[in-house]
Amino acid sequence: MYTTYVVTRISNVLIMDRRKFLKQSSLASSLFFVPSFVRAFEEVASNKLGYKRLVIIQLSGGNDGLNTVIPYRNDLYYKERPSLAIKEKDIIKLNDEVGLNPSLKPLKKLYDKGYLSIINNVGYPNPVRSHFRSMDIWQTATNSNEYSQSGWLGRYLDNFGKQPYSAIEIDESLSLAMKGENVNAIATQDAKSFYNLSKDPYFKNLSKHKNDAHLSEHNLGYLYKSMIAAESSAKYIFETSKTYSSLQEYPNNKFGKQLKTTAQFINSGLKTKVFYTALGGFDTHVNQINTQKRLLSQYADGIEAFVQDLITNNTFKNTLILTFSEFGRRVKQNASIGTDHGTANNIFVIGENLKKQGFYNNMASLSDLDDNGDLKFEIDFRTIYATVLNKWLEVDDKKVLNRSFTQLDFI
């Protein structure tokens, strides 16, 4: 799939007028050296010919969706949350019924421009209220009683990614979502230190001296192969990303830095289809208001800078940003002015060419709850994955999700 993509792009380029062709090729060190010839055009192609990228943002700990997207006209909301409900006057109103948490002002701007789609009430059957289990379910896209050792984006890599760096997690270690059966994504927070770690000439010499005959499919051969792949990925990511530096200012926190790195990777033309990053701390059992306020501000301010950075560099139109959390929280507040683990939650889809801007569907019912007092989900999160895979990344979603899901029409 990937290979044919590249071939089409090269052939597109070849139809280009000859003068332009020569002008652009002269940037490459040698016109007749095939790899740089290909690379020169891939760089052009990746920005100009619609190289689509997906950015996933995980809000870890279970963000309270009901205090994020708020049904401020619903009496039940105030009744179940006497000291936790956000006052109507503070809510950023999106329409006559629903508003946003006061920390999400930047999202209102995106909403007004039609860059935001809110999908309400997303979950899965037989919900699990354990953080790590529910996170696994979201990351592996399995049923709640199944276990998988590979993640959905990892399986995307297995089937359609060409290189480990086709998917990058901006973090110190790799999430299950990004582990495939055969190929794993790259995790790095800092392209330079990853490169530094890998570039000891000792390892380079080992790669050079590697004797193929003795390194077949065995474990040792696998180690050598991984070493060589890592070296070249680290080098590629570092050398490509350093060609671009952003002028955009980002909030000075970890999440802001992660988004800045992501934008740098995207805007430098790195051939990466999927980026993954996380913001943690949403497990608000106690005194929720201030914690969530702080975290949602970090989220929204980061996103605002990120989107602006992409717009400036003309890459926003080819970037889709998906934000999720492993579960929502209970409708009724608990005794510590917080909330306990719940079920369904809202998802934010941010992008320029959304089909369904604003609200994708109605808010969840607060009166028709399950036995635990939790929301009953309406949209299976895997239908969202299927849609993104099929309509955005343009691959066969069934190969990644191992079964067929209904397609939604938000993109």
Binding site: L174, N205, N219, L220, Y224
Partner: protein, 462 residues
């Protein structure tokens, strides 16, 4: 016993063996060596960190049924700190213990009966249950696990009540702990879940059987019908030969080879199925000739813990900031006490990705040698190593704050010629090209050569 076989044995039932000990054993027979291993592991030494602070809180509580949020938070805070302490204590135990076989078995079982809990008291107790039964009777083991506080929490047996059964434990008991997927029916799960209703624990972590929530009445399980208890269910499961096979295969993949040899498995099953005595089947496996087959030597990829403990064993290393040791585990993909999910770490090639391979190769030099790996050519002067090393130290050598004991290493390798060090550190054949590269380099000192060897992909094998 041949040196090569002694080393193989110790790489699998421990974390390798150093020259002094190897020479000592080489005059002994295989039988004596294996006997000594089991004798040394007869004793069970619990691993404990001081949890009196939490116990004191429990004692002072008026109503043990209700913990107020403040107390709960306080306990959680202490627990988090103590879990780190326990993790470090466990690594230290693995690096230095006479009961090496038992400890390696604990590591194996911890990835079989996978469990995680925030409470240090429960998880410490669970960990010591693994230790107690590691070489004992498998039936007693499964029963003990089913009654552990941490496990009844982890797999929701606590919430498994006759009015509202929770099948989580029953399912994993068969799928992951005893039979393997596909060797039971969904109905077996439903019925056996009823038998485990009422399993719970008290605040102190002791097993409590809640009669009121237990399902009294007939259950149909593997074609048998009766008012079965949880213990009956385990009894019936172990009657299936598949259970013995499942465990033997798992032992084989961990200790012998990731690729199963049916002949060897069936020999092991014949031993194990008789009485489910773990020690006996381990003794059989380690004594068999096939255990020392060429194709089993140096063909496994070390787990992160095997890598770390092996390093620590060769060059004793103390972390001045223990959190860094946890950090390294996280980067390598295996934090003790924090399994990814109930099916545990997959192992083998799954340890390896672009990040972990780079870190694994660079880690020995970063921990032990200021991040420096000598690339000095035969004709270059040895002194330049020192200036280069200084340079590395300033650049990336300070990343980990550790104290290393190279004196210990040098004593261990005193009577080993520099060319022969690789026979002690590397388990597999070194790739031809790599060998050629190594021989083009100067052997500056035993320490520098040791680092060069530890920085090879070959060092990742055991």
């Amino acid at each position: 016993m041949e040196t090569k076989n002694i080393q193989h044995l110790y790489r699998r039932i421990g974390f390798g063996i150093l020259p002094v000990e190897t020479y000592k054993l080489s005059s002994k027979s295989k039988k004596v060596i294996i006997n000594n291993l089991f004798t040394a592991s007869k004793k069970v030494t619990p691993l404990e960190v001081d949890t009196s602070e939490i116990k004191e809180i429990f004692r002072s509580m008026v109503d043990i049924k209700k913990i107020d949020p403040d107390t709960r938070r306080k306990i959680q805070k202490i627990s988090r700190k103590k879990q780190i302490e326990f993790n470090i204590a466990w690594i230290n135990r693995l690096s230095n213990t006479p009961e090496i076989l038992r400890e390696k078995m604990v590591l194996f079982w911890a990835n079989h009966f996978v469990c995680e809990d925030n409470s240090i008291t429960y998880i410490q107790q669970f960990n010591n249950t693994l230790r107690k039964h590691a070489l004992g009777n498998f039936k007693d083991f499964v029963n003990a696990i089913s009654k552990e506080a941490a496990m009844t929490k982890y797999l929701n047996t606590k919430q498994n009540k006759k009015q509202k059964p929770n099948e989580n434990f029953a399912r994993e008991l068969m799928e992951l702990f005893t039979l393997g997927v596909g060797h039971y029916s969904e109905n077996d799960i439903k019925e056996s879940a009823k038998a485990f209703t009422g399993y719970s624990h008290n605040l102190q972590g002791e097993f409590v059987f809640r009669k009121r929530t237990h399902h009294e009445g007939d259950k149909t399980f593997f074609g048998k019908k009766g008012n079965f208890t949880g213990e009956d269910i385990i009894e019936i499961i172990l009657e299936q030969k598949q259970c013995a096979k499942f465990i033997c295969e798992k032992l084989y993949r961990y200790f012998v080879n990731e690729t199963i040899d049916e002949k060897h498995i069936s020999a092991m099953v014949n031993v194990f199925y008789k009485d489910y005595n773990i020690e006996r089947v381990m003794r059989f496996m380690l004594s068999s000739e096939w255990f020392y087959d060429e194709k089993n030597i140096g063909t496994k990829i070390k787990s992160p813990i095997e890598l770390l403990v092996g390093l620590k064993q060769t060059v004793p290393t103390t972390f001045k900031n223990p959190k860094q040791l946890i950090y390294i585990q996280r980067l390598l993909g295996q934090v003790l006490l924090k399994p990814p999910n109930v099916s545990g770490w997959k192992g083998g090639k799954n340890w390896i990705d672009s990040n972990t391979i780079v870190l694994r190769l660079k880690l020995p030099s970063m921990l032990l040698n200021n991040a420096y790996i000598s690339k000095l050519k035969q004709n270059e002067a040895s002194e330049s190593v020192n200036t280069e090393k200084e340079l590395f130290k300033r650049k990336m050598g300070n990343r980990f704050n550790v104290k290393t004991n190279w004196k210990y290493f040098n004593n261990q390798f005193k009577n080993v010629k520099i060319d022969a060090i690789e026979n002690h550190l590397i388990a597999c054949q070194i790739n031809e090209g790599t060998k050629a590269y190594l021989s083009s380099l100067k052997k500056v000192s035993k320490q520098e050569y040791c680092i060069q060897l530890m920085s090879l992909p070959e060092y990742q094998m055991c």
